[in-house]
C-alpha cells in the first residue's frame, strides 16, 4: 500500500559518487558454459559474411562500387529507410504509448496485430499492400479516382512497404521501454500541472529515449534490408524503386560477383551508420 520500504534510506544514498571511480568487486572468470555458445553464435552470424569477403572480386571493386547505378540504389535505400523510420516513429511511438499506458477493449488483440508483419512473409505483405493501396485496391482506387494518386512503382511505395515490415520492431521496442519506465515521474509531472500530452512529450519521451533509439535503429536496419514487400508492392525500377536489396537480387541472376559487391557495400554502409549512432547514444546517456 505505501510505497516506501524501511531500508530505502540505506539503499539509495543520494551522495554523488564520482563516475568511473566506483570500486566494484572484481568479476570472477567468465564461465566457459556461456563463452562457448556465445563464440559459436558470433561465428554463425559472421561466417557467411566472411564467405562473401573471400569471394568478392577485389580487383574490380573500385569500379563496381562507384557505378552510378549502384550509387543510385544505395542512395534510394538510405533515403527511403530513413523516411520509413521517421514515419514509423510518428505512428509507432503513439501506438506504443497507447498499448503500454491505456486500457481499451481489444488492446491485446491490437498488440497481436502489431506483430503480424513480423510473422507473415514480406511478399505476402506486399501483395496485401497492393490489394489495399494498389491502383485497383480497396483504398487505392479512391486515391487514384479522387487525387490521381497511384502509389505502386513510386518511391512512396518503397517507404510504405518498409514501414509495414519495420514498424513492429519500433513499436515493440518502445512499448517495452514504456513499460519499464518509472511511472512515478509521470505522476510527479502531473502534480506540477502537466496534462497527459505534456507529461508524454516532456517527461515520458525523454525517459524512454534510449528505447526509442534502439527501436529506431532496428526499424531502420529492417527497412534497409527490406526486399519482398518492396519488390511486390513498389516494383523494381532503377533509380525509382530499386533499392539495394533488389539490386542485389537482380545482380544475383546474372552476375553473382556483382551481387557480392552490392551486398558488401550495403553491409558496410549500414555498419558505419549503426556504429556512429550507437557511439552517439552511448556517449549521450
Amino acid at each position: 500500500m505505501t510505497a516506501q520500504t524501511p531500508d530505502r534510506s540505506r539503499r539509495r544514498p543520494r551522495t554523488p559518487v564520482p563516475r568511473g571511480r566506483v570500486r566494484r568487486p572484481r568479476a570472477g572468470r567468465v564461465p566457459w558454459i556461456l563463452v562457448v555458445p556465445a563464440v559459436a553464435g558470433v561465428l554463425f552470424l559472421v561466417l557467411p559474411f566472411a564467405g562473401m569477403l573471400v569471394r568478392a572480386p577485389w580487383p574490380t571493386m573500385g569500379a563496381r562500387v562507384t557505378d552510378p547505378a549502384v550509387l543510385a540504389a544505395l542512395w534510394l535505400s538510405l533515403s527511403t529507410a530513413t523516411v520509413a523510420t521517421v514515419v514509423s516513429l510518428l505512428l509507432g511511438v503513439p501506438l506504443a504509448w497507447l498499448l503500454a499506458r491505456t486500457e481499451f477493449p481489444g488492446r491485446r488483440f491490437v498488440r497481436a496485430l502489431v506483430t503480424v508483419p513480423l510473422v507473415i512473409p514480406p511478399v505476402v505483405g506486399g501483395v496485401a499492400l497492393l490489394l489495399v493501396l494498389g491502383r485497383n485496391g480497396l483504398v487505392g482506387q479512391y486515391l487514384d479516382a479522387w487525387f490521381g494518386l497511384t502509389l505502386p512503382f513510386t518511391p512512396a511505395a518503397v517507404v510504405i512497404a518498409q514501414v509495414f515490415v519495420a514498424m513492429p520492431f519500433l513499436v515493440i521496442s518502445v512499448e517495452g521501454a514504456l513499460r519499464g519506465a518509472d511511472r512515478r515521474y509521470e505522476e510527479a509531472a502531473a502534480t506540477l500541472g502537466a496534462d497527459r500530452v505534456t507529461v508524454f512529450t516532456r517527461v515520458t519521451l525523454p525517459m524512454v529515449l534510449p528505447g526509442i533509439g534502439a527501436g529506431a535503429v532496428l526499424c531502420w536496419a529492417r527497412a534497409l534490408g527490406e526486399f519482398g514487400a518492396t519488390i511486390t508492392f513498389a516494383g523494381n525500377f532503377p533509380g525509382t524503386t530499386q533499392t539495394m536489396p533488389l539490386a542485389v537480387y537482380m545482380a544475383m541472376q546474372r552476375d553473382p560477383e556483382a551481387a557480392i559487391v552490392l551486398s558488401l557495400v550495403l553491409l558496410l554502409v549500414s555498419l558505419v551508420v549503426l556504429a556512429t549512432l550507437r557511439e552517439r547514444w552511448v556517449n549521450a546517456s
Binding site: P121, G235, N236, F237, Q253
Partner: protein, 283 residues
C-alpha cells in the same frame, strides 16, 4: 504467397526444396551403387524396362505444371522410380548445380543458363555426345502481351505500350523473360519504358492480374496458366525472341540411364502433347 498453385512454390520455395533434393539425392547415390552392376546397356532402350531408383530434376519454374503431369505418367510406367523436383528460376538452379547440388537432369528456360551449367558442372559426356553438347531443346516459349481481361488501356500491339500514361511491367533483363523482352522490343525499334522490371515472369503476371499495370510482357504459357485472369495478345516482334528450353543429363548424375529415360519421356509424343497444352511451342 505459398498458395495452392505449385508454380508459386517456384523461386521462393527453392530452399526447402533444395534440402529435400539433397536428401533424395543421397538416396539416389546409395541406390545407384547397387544398380551399377546391372546397369542398362543402352539409354535408348528404356521404355518397358524395369527402371528403379530416385530421380532428381532441376527445372525452370515455368515447367512446374507440365513436368508434374509428365511425372505422373512416367511413374505409372515405372512404379519403382521416385521423381523429385526442384523448381526455381533457371539461373538460380544453374548456380545451385554449379555449387554441387545433386541433380540428375536440368531443364532450363533458356539456352544461356544451360550454357552456365555446360561450362560449369557439365553435362553427362555420353548423353551429350548423342544429343548435343548444349543440351536438347525440347520446347519453345513465345512472348505475349498480357492485359487485364477488360483491357482498360485498349492495348492492341507492342506500339501501344509506348503510349503516354501506359503503365507496363517487364521482366528484369537479368532473368530470361527479360532478355527475351529486350530482344523483342529491340526488334520493334520502339522506345518503351516500363514502370517496373519484375524479378520474374510470375510477378509481371501478378501485376497485370491485379490491374496495377495496363500490360506486361509474359510467355504464352503464363497466359494459359492464368486461366482467364489475363488476356494474351500475340505480336509479331515476339518471333524474334522465341525462347528455347534445353534439357540435359548432368555430369554428376547418379543414374544417367534413368535421367535419359526422363528426357525421353519429355520429348516423346505424349510429353509434347502436355507441353503444347500448356502453351509451349514445338522446337
Amino acid at each position: 504467397m505459398r498458395d495452392s498453385s505449385p508454380r508459386r512454390a517456384g523461386r521462393r520455395g527453392h530452399r526447402p526444396l533444395t534440402g529435400l533434393a539433397a536428401v533424395a539425392a543421397l538416396g539416389v547415390a546409395l541406390t545407384a551403387c547397387g544398380a551399377e552392376d546391372t546397369g542398362p546397356g543402352d539409354g535408348a532402350d528404356t521404355f518397358g524396362d524395369a527402371l528403379s531408383g530416385e530421380l532428381t530434376v532441376f527445372a525452370a519454374a515455368s515447367l512446374t505444371d507440365v513436368f508434374a503431369e509428365i511425372a505422373d505418367d512416367f511413374q505409372e510406367r515405372h512404379p519403382d522410380v521416385a521423381v523429385t523436383f526442384n523448381f526455381a528460376g533457371s539461373s538460380e538452379l544453374a548456380q545451385q548445380i554449379n555449387a554441387g547440388a545433386p541433380a540428375d537432369v536440368f531443364a532450363a528456360a533458356n539456352t544461356a543458363t544451360m550454357e552456365q551449367v555446360v561450362e560449369g558442372e557439365g553435362l553427362d559426356a555420353d548423353w551429350a555426345g548423342e544429343h548435343g553438347e548444349h543440351g536438347l531443346v525440347f520446347a519453345t516459349n513465345t512472348l505475349r502481351i498480357a492485359v487485364p481481361p477488360d483491357n482498360p488501356a485498349g492495348i492492341g500491339d507492342l506500339a501501344d505500350l509506348a503510349g503516354d500514361g501506359v503503365q507496363a511491367a517487364f521482366c528484369a533483363e537479368e532473368v530470361p523473360c527479360g532478355a527475351a523482352t529486350t530482344t523483342a522490343v529491340g526488334a520493334s525499334g520502339l522506345e518503351i519504358t516500363p514502370v517496373t522490371y519484375e524479378e520474374d515472369v510470375r510477378a509481371v503476371l501478378t501485376k497485370v492480374e491485379l490491374g496495377e499495370v495496363d500490360a506486361g510482357l509474359v510467355y504464352s504459357t503464363d497466359v494459359i496458366s492464368a486461366e482467364g485472369r489475363v488476356e494474351g495478345l500475340e505480336f509479331p516482334e515476339a518471333e524474334e525472341a522465341v525462347n528455347d528450353y534445353p534439357i540435359g543429363v548432368l555430369a554428376n548424375s547418379g543414374d544417367s540411364a534413368l535421367a535419359a529415360a526422363w528426357i525421353e519421356a519429355v520429348t516423346s509424343a505424349e510429353g509434347a502433347a502436355v507441353l503444347t497444352g500448356a502453351g509451349f511451342g514445338a522446337p
